[in-house]
């Protein structure tokens, strides 16, 4: 009889030992602020840094993912934090939740934004060339007054396509440019048109489309595959077609999709060919993000948009929804560059340098990180300046 009791006890113990943890953990499942799909060359700490700015916060992601996996096995189960596989879906909790999980505050730079007092520097008139999507997001309307107050500046924002913004920099018609097309930015500096290129922030793109979703891509985490499905079903897709940062990103995604692409150029401009899938369903409209979204809404078609512009549109009501997001290929980094004063003597160099210093400063980066949270419950841009990353 003693052996029987012992055996029963052991079984009960093992049962409890196995079951109890999952019960305990399931209770504490954490909300996923973002769902990220692992891409090639991703590792947990890299994602943690991208999202929280804290390289060592990766256990929070692992933990949250595993907890999510208990109830939803589309999420991965991470046994070894050093090994994650391409295609795994991770649950990325909010910064507060992550801090709670790892039981310490995140190592994000602790910055309080001081009130905008004049610094005594008088910048005067400063011409900033930027892209329409940056402008349409409303970020500049929120943060520029801070710069103008501190530096006695009158910033004139010229919002045009990426290509034209860069051209304005080349011509010296702008003092400083803020764009999101890394290869073009590097070419700009290499050719001697710009100096002091700095990282500023990044945001992400989303694929939006009609709620009817004829191509059936909603919830897909592989954006290249989603695009392939759009092509497959011949669903209408609106492309900006204007050589903007968004358009450049869109082309890289089509290239990743594996579909056969044709080379096109509006009016045989050999310097600037672009690629596109072949088909009548692909409409290239050559306009800014706002207009492109309007056309997509009218046609109930798919398009690629930066999150900020799209969210701003939802405030006034738009009959489209976000269908694909989170793929790390959809991240979109911004750079700021001062126009080379040696090429154009009339450039406001002091103003440009002040602007760059200001926009990469911890306080402004903090402002950037707060933008959109009140309205949309999420930050639209993630600060990414060297100073910010160093302070973590």
């Amino acid at each position: 009889m003693k052996i029987g009791k012992l055996f029963l006890l052991m079984i009960t113990y093992f049962i409890l030992a196995v079951l109890l943890p999952s019960v305990v953990f399931a209770q504490d499942a954490v909300a996923c602020e973002k769902e990220v799909v692992v891409q090639a060359d991703d590792w947990l700490s890299k994602i943690a840094e991208k999202v929280y700015g804290d390289v060592f916060a990766y256990p929070a992601i692992a933990e949250a993912t595993n907890r999510a996996n208990a109830t939803d096995d589309t999420f991965a189960f991470i046994e070894n934090v050093d090994i994650i596989e391409v295609g795994w879906k991770l649950c990325v909790p909010s910064a507060d939740d992550a801090a709670a999980i790892i039981n310490r505050p995140l190592e994000t730079p602790d910055v309080t934004v001081s009130p905008a007092e004049p610094t005594g520097i008088e910048v005067g008139r400063l011409v900033l060339a930027t892209t329409t999507s940056t402008y349409d997001s409303g970020l500049l309307d929120v943060i520029l007054p801070d710069f103008e107050a501190r530096y006695g500046a009158d910033v004139e924002v010229i919002a045009v396509g990426t290509g034209q913004a860069i051209q304005l920099g080349e011509n010296g018609d702008a003092d400083v440019i803020l764009v999101h097309a890394r290869s073009r930015e590097d070419a700009f500096v290499e050719a001697g048109y710009g100096v002091n290129r700095q990282d500023v922030m990044y945001n992400d793109f989303v694929v939006v489309g009609p709620s009817a979703d004829p191509a059936g891509i909603k919830g897909m985490t592989d954006v290249a595959a989603a695009l392939a499905k759009i092509a497959e079903t011949g669903s209408t897709f609106i492309s900006r077609g204007d050589d903007s940062g968004t358009h450049t990103k869109e082309q890289s995604l089509w290239q990743a999709s594996g579909l056969p692409l044709v080379e096109a150029a509006s009016i045989k401009n050999a310097d600037q060919t672009f690629v596109k899938p072949d088909g009548d369903w692909y409409l290239s409209v050559g306009q800014g993000m706002g207009a492109t979204l309007t056309i997509a809404e009218e046609q109930q078609a798919y398009t690629l948009s930066d999150r900020a512009t799209f969210l701003a549109r939802t405030l006034e009501g738009i009959d489209l929804e976000i269908l694909v997001e989170g793929d790390s290929r959809l991240f979109n980094p911004y750079g700021v560059i001062a126009v080379n004063p040696e090429l154009h003597l009339t450039v406001n160099t002091a103003g440009a340098e002040a602007f760059i210093e200001w926009i990469t400063s911890l306080e402004t980066q903090k402002l950037i990180s707060q933008f959109g949270v009140a309205e949309f419950g999420q930050a639209l841009f993630t600060p990414d300046s060297a100073a910010w990353n160093a302070a973590k």
Binding site: D243, K268, L283
Partner: protein, 232 residues
């Protein structure tokens, strides 16, 4: 200056090189503007003649309306047409938005007051005694009107030129209702805006030169319509 000269050179190169994209855009621009102008002429010239010749109650009111239409901002007309043909608009079910038809509608509305207004002014400048004399020679009212229009042909051709000019160079309405869709609704003017946005200033300039050149040729042809006798 550099951009101007480069634009000129590129323009010549593009024309000679028979670039198919370019010719498609040229053809499309001329097509939509040509159709719109035809509608304007068909309705505008008779209406202008009528307003110029006939006294009736409310004539001054109509004239004021026409003059207002002549100076009306084309982009507002574009917005109006857009709202009409939008999915949420009254005739949205036609599905004309972002097709050549919407562009033709907008351009007709834009050019019509100019064609009618200038025709009316031209006809009003004709000796009023003429009509009576033509009728006494046996002309019907319609025949007399036609002869009066022929007398006013210099002004009537100006009306057509003004109407054409107002739409071939317009961009705001065209881009709103047409969508600037490559291969479908892209005109010379919307292409110029696009290339400018992309930073291709010299290509944009080239397109501008081409647009200028085409308009010039067409106006030259129209002057022939005014007749050889217009130089006294």
């Amino acid at each position: 200056m550099k951009a101007l000269l480069e634009g000129l050179v590129q323009a010549i190169g593009l024309i000679i090189g028979l670039d198919p994209d370019l010719y498609e855009i040229i053809w499309f621009s001329l097509y939509v503007s040509g159709v719109a102008l035809s509608f304007s002429i068909l309705v505008g010239i008779p209406l202008g003649a009528f307003l110029g010749l006939k006294q009736f109650l409310g004539r001054r009111f109509m004239m004021a309306l026409l003059y207002t239409g002549m100076g009306f901002p084309p982009v507002v007309i574009g917005l109006f047409v857009y709202l009409m043909f939008s999915r949420s608009g009254p005739v949205g079910t036609l599905g004309w938005l972002f097709t050549p038809r919407a562009i033709i509608v907008a351009q007709t509305i834009i050019s019509f007051p100019l064609v009618a207004g200038f025709t009316m002014a031209a006809v009003m400048g004709i000796d009023p005694n003429l009509r009576q004399q033509l009728v006494s020679l046996g002309a019907t009212a319609w025949q007399a009107t036609l002869a009066t229009l022929a007398e006013a042909r210099i002004g009537v051709v100006v009306a057509i030129i003004a109407g054409f000019g107002s739409i071939i160079s317009e961009v705001g309405a065209v881009i709103l209702v047409g969508g600037n869709i490559e291969g479908k609704t892209r005109t010379l003017t919307t292409a110029i805006v696009l290339e400018t946005r992309k930073g291709n200033f010299d290509l944009a300039m080239a397109l501008g030169v081409i647009l200028l050149f085409i308009t010039f040729l067409i106006n030259l042809a129209m002057i022939r319509l005014q007749g050889r006798e217009f130089i006294r």
